[in-house]
């Protein structure tokens, strides 16, 4: 991190994939905020005479419904635009909770060690042994199909990503001169964590969080695919609904999937870029 932000920007200007990712995410965020202005139709409105209408580039399609309509004549494009709200909003909220919980517990585990560390890491092991989708299905079945419950599951299970990364980094930083010096001059535990550890954890957590958003978008879509998120305005729900019409109207299940794919791809590309730009070791891999 020689010159920090300036160097990262320099790297960014030379990285096409990261630029594509950033552009797509920007477009997506704008879409989420201005969904009602951008969407050509009400995503829940039935246009029964136009049901299962093909997209514009196929015979029978027109610009009124650019990506076609579903079995009830709802506009596929408008549903994708509104679906971005559900998927991205849920994922972002879930990751925020996961980061807060994970960083806190990771800091405690790495800094204090001992019994606390053992307890927290055992809990990580336990959560690691249960597939996330299974845990989520379980909690939703019991607590009810509401978006808030999905966000809670994401936070309650996703923190282990950050806790492991943070703990590892804290174990390393803890032994460095500037931390030892701070301890010697009598800085409080909290002061050391806030002023000396946290700033150094920002970069690795940013990378993990970026990657996790993509992962959680897939989880949210997966749960919607099972039809248990409480919202039918979601990419996964539309894919599930479109399965019945694969033979007659393939676009219903296909386009929302591309939306998920490009969203996750973008976050992955940004995450890759950040990881390489922030951690010079992984970038300058020696070659024979």
């Amino acid at each position: 991190m020689e010159t920090g932000f300036a160097r990262i920007w320099q790297e960014f200007r030379g990285n096409r994939l990261a630029q594509f990712g950033a552009l797509f995410v920007t477009v997506l965020v704008v879409t989420v905020v201005f969904a009602s202005e951008i969407a050509p139709h009400d995503p829940t409105k039935f246009h029964l005479p136009e049901r299962n209408q093909p997209p514009v580039f196929l015979e029978g399609g027109d610009w009124v419904f650019p990506l076609g309509t579903d079995a009830h004549g709802r506009d596929v494009l408008s549903r994708i635009i509104y679906g971005a709200r559900t998927s991205l909003g849920t994922a972002a909220a879930g990751v925020t909770i996961a980061v807060i919980v994970g960083v806190t517990l990771g800091l405690i585990a790495g800094y204090f060690g001992g019994v606390l560390d053992t307890l927290i890491m055992r809990f990580v092991d336990i959560l690691l042994s249960i597939p996330l989708i299974l845990l989520a299905l379980l909690v939703i079945a019991v607590l009810g199909p509401k978006i808030i419950n999905i966000i809670l599951v994401m936070g309650a299970a996703g923190w282990i990503w950050h806790a492991r990364i943070v703990r590892g980094n804290v174990l390393r930083i803890r032994e460095e001169q500037f931390v030892l010096a701070a301890v010697n001059v009598g800085t409080s535990h909290f002061g050391i964590m806030r002023r000396h550890l946290l700033p150094n954890l920002l970069a690795p957590v940013l990378v993990t969080a970026t990657m996790q958003i993509g992962f959680m978008v897939i989880l949210e879509s997966g749960l919607s695919f099972f039809g248990i998120t409480g919202s039918s305005l979601s990419w996964g729900w539309d894919i599930s609904a479109g399965r019945k019409y694969l033979g007659t109207a393939w676009w219903i299940a296909s386009f929302p999937g591309f939306a998920i794919f490009f969203t996750v791809l973008s976050f992955n590309m940004i995450g890759d870029f950040l990881r390489d730009a922030i951690d010079p070791h992984s970038r300058h891999t020696p070659v024979g």
Binding site: L134, G257, T285, G288
Partner: protein, 326 residues
């Protein structure tokens, strides 16, 4: 080695006990009474109370937990509330199908990934490397349920090459048929499993491709590679005899950690392809709140995860003689 194993097994028990407790708490601390699902909306108060008592739901939480643990210790995983069958029988009946699907997915994905990773690292910055990177990035970004639906669309609906759901004959029967001169059962088996296995294996394939590439590149810069080169080893000789054994260690670690997501992926894949495995049973049980089946299922999943990871520790010793487990 013996002490290490004992320690690992103890740790595994803690993890499995923790997973069981976690699921127990989620189920029993949640609002709503599962007995409602059993007796139906129109049952009288007496019927409702009767069901609650017979299931032990009227007991206080700590007594329920104690009963659950003592049953567990005695090897009793409970009886399904809806089917009335022991949960162990239900799960073990479905488990082989899930293991079969997961294994085929891994056997398609992992060798392909290691191959791609090697080629990608050796021909770094070439067109091949670029392509392998794109394949890996795409694989990591594709949700498996959608991939499954798209594969059905292409190979079952449009091309009509493969069946879209269900399973063919059991594998060992298909193999037995070969010896009696029939190839068709095996072809039938393969045609049913290929789409779900590809759906399930893609994520793992992408992950392992990336990992293999990074790890090989890292190893290629190490002194031992220079020594091997100086001694006149060929390019592929260095990779095959020196670098690959080292890289496989980190690959194997990641595969162990991904067993969980593979089993989670099986839940989704089995639903998409109507594959009669454990994942589908669990989804059905969760939907009708059949607590004993859910508890036993999560326990079994956690057990498989822990068991595979112990196995992987043992593989380490084989792969890297420097590692002495203690």
């Amino acid at each position: 080695m013996g002490r290490y194993l004992a320690h690992r097994i103890l740790h595994s028990f803690v993890v499995i006990w923790g997973a069981a407790t976690l699921v127990f708490l989620i189920l029993h601390l949640s609002p709503g009474d599962p007995a409602v699902n059993l007796v139906g909306e129109n049952a009288t108060q007496e019927q409702f109370e009767l069901v609650r008592r017979s299931l032990g739901l009227d007991l206080p939480l700590h007594e329920r937990y104690f009963n659950y643990l003592t049953d567990l210790a005695a090897g009793d995983l409970g009886t399904s509330w809806f089917v009335g069958q022991p949960t162990v029988d239900m799960l073990l009946e479905r488990l082989p199908d899930t293991i079969e699907l997961t294994l085929v997915a891994a056997l398609i994905g992992i060798p392909l990934a290691i191959g791609l990773g090697i080629v990608s690292a050796v021909f770094r910055r070439s067109g091949l490397d670029y392509m392998a990177n794109i394949v890996a990035l795409f694989g990591l970004s594709t949700p498996n349920f959608w991939l499954g639906v798209m594969l059905i669309l292409l190979f079952a609906v449009e091309l009509r090459w493969l069946p879209s759901m269900g399973r063919g004959p059991v594998f060992h029967e298909a193999i037995a048929a070969i010896f009696s001169g029939q190839i068709k059962p095996l072809a039938d088996w393969a045609s049913h499993i290929v789409l779900p296995a590809v759906t399930l294996g893609t994520f793992l394939m992408a992950l392992v491709t990336r990992l293999t590439r990074t790890d090989i590149l890292e190893n290629l810069g190490r002194p031992y590679v220079k020594v091997a080169r100086a001694k006149g080893a060929s390019n592929w000789g260095v990779i095959y005899h020196h670098v690959l054994p080292n890289s496989l260690i980190s690959v194997v670690t990641v595969i162990g950690l991904e067993v969980g997501s593979l089993l989670g992926g099986a839940v989704v894949t089995e639903t998409v392809f109507a594959w009669p495995g454990m994942g589908r049973l669990l989804v059905e049980s969760i939907q009708r709140r059949d607590y004993p089946v859910i508890q036993a299922g999560v326990l079994l999943t956690s057990f498989v995860f822990v068991f595979v990871n112990i196995l992987i520790d043992l593989i380490y010793v084989y792969l890297d003689p420097r590692i002495r487990l203690k």
